[in-house]
Symmetry: C2
Subunit: 272 residues, 2 copies
């Protein structure tokens, strides 16, 4: 059975113009959060179009997206252009448009993670997280939050209680949010899904007492390994809120304690 994630990011190839491929997408209402559509879902949709453009390099190694305007649910088109294709990696430009409005422009390098060397020499350590049963389910969010964020229905989130005080008006002030993550339908997250997972949690500025929408200017995701089946751990931090902007660093760890994705975004500070 196709997962909800695959269904919602499904693409229909359209007539191509020379040097460019085109895919029709239908942005699902279920990914709305506040006034827009979740940026991670959009990135995953773009990511799938790129994967279909270079089918023997199925996995994103690096994707950089620049957000131009807020998307709305409904029809969209993803256009892709191969900039360079070598033996092991391909670099592709992609745009997501709705009507005549450019929503997102992206660059990406894809490869085959199954064919990469299997060396691992990392000093990074998995986030320290209480066991699942001691964490706070996303389903505890109040009805008024859930109404404006149908996005929450897509996930089974279990927040680390040490980083979720903002939900009851007591942000820790450290700029740190972390949670266990799986898809609500319990389908495993694949490499394209990681593009979404890196932008699934609430903005880390909630933990600084700055709730509200934090528009992303730029988001780069590095997919570092194919995730093992099972719960993921997702950790977001910010260290530098300045000049009306902040960076948000995300790590995604899989059930085998492998760091499977690293991302950083630059976003506008919410007015709070």
């Amino acid at each position: 059975m196709r997962s909800e994630w695959e269904t919602h990011t499904a693409l229909t190839p359209e007539d191509d113009t020379p040097g460019e491929r085109s895919f029709a997408a239908e942005l699902d209402q279920g990914w709305v959060v506040g006034g827009g559509v979740n940026g991670g879902y959009l990135l995953g949709t773009i990511g799938r179009a790129i994967a279909e453009t270079v089918p023997d390099k199925p996995h994103p190694l690096s994707v950089s997206a620049y957000y131009l305007s807020a998307s709305v649910p409904g029809p969209a088109r993803v256009r892709t252009r191969v900039l360079r294709e070598g033996g092991s990696v391909a670099t592709v430009a992609a745009d997501l448009v709705q009507g005549s409005d450019a929503r997102i422009t992206a660059l990406a390098t894809y490869g085959d993670l199954d064919r990469m060397p299997d060396d691992v020499a990392t000093t990074a350590t998995p986030p320290a997280m209480p066991p699942l049963e001691e964490c706070v389910p996303g389903s505890f969010a109040p009805e008024e939050v859930r109404r404006v964020a149908p996005l929450l229905e897509r996930f089974d989130l279990r927040f680390d209680p040490a980083c979720v005080g903002w939900a009851v008006g007591q942000p820790s002030g450290r700029g740190h949010i972390q949670a266990w993550f799986r898809l609500a339908d319990e389908h495993p997250v694949d490499a394209l899904g990681l593009l979404m997972v890196c932008d699934a949690l609430p903005p880390v500025t909630y933990d600084l007492g700055l709730p509200g929408w934090a528009p992303t200017l730029e988001l780069t995701v590095h997919v570092r390994a194919l995730p093992a089946t099972g719960w993921l751990r997702v950790s977001h931090r910010t260290r530098n809120v300045a000049g009306g902007m902040f960076e948000e660093d995300c790590e995604v760890w899989d059930a085998s304690d492998r760091l499977v994705a690293q991302s950083r975004q630059l976003a506008m500070r919410p007015r709070g």
Copy 2:
């Protein structure tokens, strides 16, 4: 007097095609390192073309570059296309080409850092560095290194001795290199110069006992503030060497203890 940096990144506007601007550049031999031209210098050259394309948004806020092939000294062309221009920020696509070879493709969002809010609420702290006089000058590099890396003549680098053991065959293994930085001609580094500073030091893999060229796949720089006049401190770290790749995080701090740039790149692990 024009600085060496300004001279080496100078551009000559060419005839534009509709929707696209074009600039001629002359990549200077002085930025060669090993078999290629330094990626930070190339990014600064692209950055200048973007600044000239959107002159009332003179400062890079975020620039993401994907490296397609190694550049060579000599003529190059930078082409720019404005994707969206709003009141305060503009997003621009840019390509650096030599002949018919695409070298780098980039996306960027520019604005005016003088007009950004002056809030600073950062938990990041400047790198702990010994005073200048206790650090190891880049000019101590042996003659055979300097011959293949004229790049070194562009800078006045003073390496933290705790992170420079790799130069005498004793890498620390921590994946950390840091140094004081200024331009050799002592001209101050501006916002465009920061794009170069984030890729000026040797690859951090030297400190892991993996010397040699580490080809960059992707480099994103966030310029967070205009640097104060004076020495900069530049710190590079990696935490995750895996799958034949590693991430390299860089911070640049100015003389007023302000975090002026953050960057991350994904690069191929040197064969060592």
